[in-house]
Amino acid sequence: MRIAIASGKGGTGKTSISVLLAKYLSFESGQEVDFLDCDCEAPNGHIFFQVHLTPLKTVNIFTPKVDTSKCTFCGKCSEICRFNAITVLGNKVAMTFPELCHGCYGCFRVCESGAIKEDPRRIGKVYAGRHEDGATRIHLVQGVLRIGEAMSPPLIKAVLEEGEASSNLVAVTDCPPGTSCPVVTSIKGADLVVIVAESSPFGLHDAAILTKVVRRLGLTFAIVANKVLDENTLIHEWCAKEGYRYLGGIPFSPDFSMEYARGGDIFKAAKRMPEIEEVLCRITKMVQER
């Protein structure tokens, strides 16, 4: 059972909800829960669980290197590459742009003269650690993208594979922001996607885009409104209008934000906000329904 926490917009409270949910689920079930931090550009779940992380593996992707002594400059590799990561000029130059390469092996497969060799590129590392605090136990896995690297999906896959290999029954995935490949990779195969929508026009806009992606992938989802100011019902109304499952609204709390920003005890801060527990309880119910 994997629950993915995603948002579209950044800074809506994905990590907060993920961390709180993982702890809640572990406490309620008395079992260890996997926390899969797929936000590989800035993984930060470990701060709140205070786990000691150890490196598990390095993730590489294929990038092509052209052996010009074998190359016939036929241009087939450059034709198939959707990312312009390889280009052939006339009949003398074949250039590669590794930072654009998605490692799909397309060029490698179409090259008939065996001129394309593999030149692996390190994209990042997977780390893991365990947290135990009274009745809660968390097995945390995170991917850390190499600085300067832009291609996170293969690293995210490696993090998810660790989750699959784990014997724990429940996993919470903290997804990256946005709605492109890294998010698609992180939510694919999830049993439930919780969309954390910031209660603002911008938050609604991005949550709506993400909802389209989630629906296109045929995934079960539900929506939480976060940072709700006063009586703002923007997200709730949107859910009602579209017929989406609404899990409740969490008010904006400077107290919680400050605790989060200094990497402090957000569990304690959350206790002062009954709306959070209500939301976590509803998510748990959805998990049990399935």
């Binding site: 312009n84 000029l89 250039m95 654009l100």
Partner: protein, 122 residues
């Protein structure tokens, strides 16, 4: 010498306005510098719509067109490396009309670049 210049309004010939972007320019005019006249109009729609690597695509197109030089506002590093590998000169920092730019290039006021003029995303 034949130069391809990125333009916004290709139908205006030598008075056309230069597009500051190289990779994502929609149109190019091929100009004969010596004769000061437009030889050909070239569309660049596919690169314009490209998510990544528009500069590389556009630069490869310039190589296919067989131009001696390109002129634009900013030329990114990837496009620059393709163009220089093919021995194509790059004139950047151009603005205003094509005819003004050609004048400045012909007089030697502007020299070809030895390094890319922007660090991408143009």
């Amino acid at each position: 010498m034949k130069i391809a210049i990125s333009v916004i309004s290709p139908d205006e010939g030598m008075s056309a306005v230069i597009d500051p972007r190289f990779g994502r320019a929609r149109h190019f005019l091929l100009v004969d510098i010596d004769k000061r006249e437009v030889v050909k109009k070239v569309e660049n729609i596919d690169a314009f719509n490209m998510g990544h690597g528009a500069g590389i695509k556009t630069a490869s197109k310039m190589v296919e067109l067989g131009v001696d030089a390109v002129g634009s506002g900013f030329v990114g590093p990837k496009a620059f490396s393709v163009l220089s590998a093919a021995g194509i000169k790059v004139y950047s920092g151009l603005e205003g009309s094509v005819s003004e730019a050609i004048k400045r290039i012909a007089s030697g006021e502007i020299q070809p670049d030895s390094a890319p003029s922007s660090n991408g995303h143009w």
